[in-house]
Symmetry: C2
Subunit: 247 residues, 2 copies
Amino acid sequence: MKNDLNPLSNIRIVLDHTSHPGNIGSAARAMKTMGLSRLHLVEPQRFPHAEADALACDARDVLEQAQVHSNLDAALAGSVIAAGLTARRRDLQNPCLDVREAAKRLVEIAATQQVALLFGNETYGLSNTELARCQYVISIPTDSAYTSLNVASAVQIMAYELRMATLNLTPEATDTAQLAPLEDIEFFYQRLEETLKRIQFLDPDHPKRLMPRIRRMFARTQLEKEEFSILMGILKQINLFVKPKVD
Amino acid sequence: MKNDLNPLSNIRIVLDHTSHPGNIGSAARAMKTMGLSRLHLVEPQRFPHAEADALACDARDVLEQAQVHSNLDAALAGSVIAAGLTARRRDLQNPCLDVREAAKRLVEIAATQQVALLFGNETYGLSNTELARCQYVISIPTDSAYTSLNVASAVQIMAYELRMATLNLTPEATDTAQLAPLEDIEFFYQRLEETLKRIQFLDPDHPKRLMPRIRRMFARTQLEKEEFSILMGILKQINLFVKPKVD
């Protein structure tokens, strides 16, 4: 690793609602072979489990140190970027990034900041709500005749590309801006939504797709810490000047 | 695919002495997601097997069409290049190629000719004898703290890189020479060894590492069909002029 940077230590793998414990074990092994160690699990169906241990082989330490969460927010806390893997194309989502290009961008950020990679359930993948939480949506270029990559295999390919990108990382590329953590950005969305209701721009009975569109826009922006502060300041000022709506 | 080239249809995956049927199923799924379909098995411990079917999911057609062989020669027949995956470095082997560079070279050849990729047993990998049969030795850059990649995961990464290389293939790059098939090259080695004994250059009681060194040299050369004919012609002439040794 050049200049003692180890982006891999700043990258967490988040397995969301995984059904099969074997896949969790295989994912842990896939991670460790590529130098990743931080595993987060959101409501796994069965964990800990003997099958996970068996398939992890000598990566059982990754399982033992895995953090189990009851919701996605907790699993993402502290990260500045969430990137979701998906096989499907969906309306109104961020443009799908190629896995190689995504790995390059992610390790540049991970040189100094926390990054989360999100893998959905074996059958359902990530929901639209979950994908809306991701600044990057990453697609692995599977064959059109059979797109159903096993979740641990997807982790393996992603981890491999992250390792390759890390080996090719130049110190100059790591001089990235300090981004706002995801929990701050969620807080901003909540405050913005409240404000939009107060100024009657957002009709709670007919919200349409306003908030998803705003999320999509800011996901592309990748808010820096200072920008977050500016936006929160603006919202605060607006709310000072808007009279409370009389019910 | 540009210009209707589909190198992936000319690439076979050879799983050598695989112990766990689940790995065969997972490898089949990994292959199909990346557009590979030709699976060859050399003396699998258990096959067909319910666990292989279960893990193949919708890639059971790859398993059904898999060819089972009793030896490596049969599995390689018709290929012009054999490339072996290994985690270990060994003496007197061909230089280890990076998996990405190897994939690029292999799809260029596979645009018009047959290529075989060889994966060893889960515990032992490929033997030195098996690696000596490979023109390319490929290493996946695992973390030094844990190099033990699952065999199906190795297939997944290799298949992914082959697919990426195919998507980036230019027609100019596919204008490669017609290489001699591996069975011809084996035949040449046999005749050469006999000849070297006849001319008493190779002492059968003290063969040292002469033949492995010669194999290594010709593996780098990548003999073309015409060159094979020339070499066989030379051996034939030598044998015409050398008197049989009196026992």
